[in-house]
Amino acid sequence: MATTKKQIMPKWFYLMASPKGCYQITGKLLPTFSVLSILLLAIGLVWALLFAPQDYQQGNSFRIIYIHVPAAILAQSIYFTMAIAGAIAIVWNMKVADMVAYSCAPIGASMALIALFTGAIWGKPTWGTWWEWDARLTSMLILLFLYFGVMALYSAMDKPETAGKAAAILSIVGLVNIPIIKYSVDWWNTLHQSATFKLTEKPAMPAEMWLPLLIMVLGFYCFFAVNLMMRLRNEILRREKRASWIKDVIN
């Protein structure tokens, strides 16, 4: 006789594991997060660009921080998300986790690209150069390469299931390597200022400056959530196209 396992987590948590449940739940969440991200990004951008005070040294050019820092933070957290989702996909053989990892890669790569690009624009007036082989720039560049590796591996394999597992292993290996890369590059060369936000300390800038930054970071996270859910839903539709429930969704 089959025994039913006791469910520890709420029911929606288990529903998320099935493509159908995940599709329905993300469909409900999507409007909320879309509104949230538009609101946060709009408030953050207007506040940051029009009302936040100028930097006493860098003048208005420092305002690019409001795009640069959120993108850099996101590039790193998305890599974590991708690697953890990949690990879940390998250990529990969960289809949805695999699709999450797959959907994360291009978003993370574009965030890393935005961070590098805005960093270059910011570097020109403040450091006097577009590019500098500085520790943080280099490690962001390597992070971008890691994303490209994962994406290349995905596209090289035919079966999405094996491609997902292979890419998951690669992203976990990359995750182990990220701190090593970070410290080795830090040791090697440093010009960049240290992190703007630390969890343990008060920020070194006044509240009028870091509050909009915080809003922008939250807005970027919501934007990531929206983007991820949209990609995930597309991926579910693509991979589950033979399932009967898809027909009901489309018609």
């Binding site: 390469f145 890691l146 490209f148 591996l153 090289a156 292993i169 990359g174 890369i181 080795s184 040791w187």
Partner: protein
């Protein structure tokens, strides 16, 4: 556990020895790429001295990288790999043995050949032992990490280019510390810290990489 390790190592070394031509290829590649730098950049002695640590390390890294493609390929194609994975023997040990065989046939000869090219690039004589030790500590790490990418791409028809894409970002820490050690010894600075870190990365990769290698092999074979 150890029996399969020795058996696999002996088999791989024997196979490598039977195809002596392939054994020579990474070394020739190493030699030729190094010869490109004086030709392409500048043959001035003081300039080459500055360039030498980085060039030697990058060339060793590329030579080790290009030989990765064949690491699992022949075993995959004739079905040996599948039998190894099906057997009750430890895949962890197989993974270590195969990476070690790769190092013994590429990394070690490169290390032994490096002093010769170091002389040609006018690396100071004092720095040559440091170069050899840094390569001895660093190249096995390259083999262990590279084996992960080789295992991931073994089932693909065009794995060669992909391996480089996957593995180069992961090689960067080894390159940084390996080349910095030689650079430091050229400038007469202490090098023990670099050796310690290279050794730590080697220990870490020997312990952790075989897990990733055997998981990747299982995925590639099931494809």
């Amino acid at each position: 556990m150890l029996r399969i390790f020795w058996a696999e190592l002996a088999k791989d070394l024997l196979l490598a020895f039977r195809r002596r031509g392939d054994l020579l290829n990474p070394l020739l590649f190493f030699a030729m790429v190094i010869a490109l730098f004086p030709l392409g950049v500048s043959p001035a002695a003081d300039f080459l001295t500055q360039l030498a640590p980085g060039v030697l390390w990058v060339c060793a890294l590329l030579a080790a990288l290009l030989s990765l493609d064949n690491l699992f390929k022949s075993d995959y194609e004739d079905g040996t790999l599948e039998q190894l994975l099906l057997s009750s023997e430890s895949t962890y040990m197989v993974a270590i043995a195969k990476s070690l065989a790769h190092w013994l046939t590429t990394g070690l000869p490169l290390t032994l050949l490096a002093p010769l090219f170091a002389m040609m690039l006018f690396l100071p004589t004092d720095a040559i032992p440091v170069l050899v030790i840094s390569l001895l500590l660093g190249t096995p790490t390259l083999s262990m990490i590279g084996a992960i990418a080789a295992a991931l791409t073994v089932g693909l028809k065009k794995g060669g280019m992909l391996i480089s894409l996957l593995v180069l970002p992961l090689y960067i820490p080894v390159l940084i510390f390996g080349a910095s050690a030689v650079q430091a010894s050229v400038q007469q600075l202490p090098v023990n810290a670099y050796f310690a870190i290279l050794g730590a990365m080697l220990a870490l990769s020997i312990v952790l990489a075989p897990f990733a290698i055997s998981a990747s092999l299982r995925i590639s074979v099931s494809n």
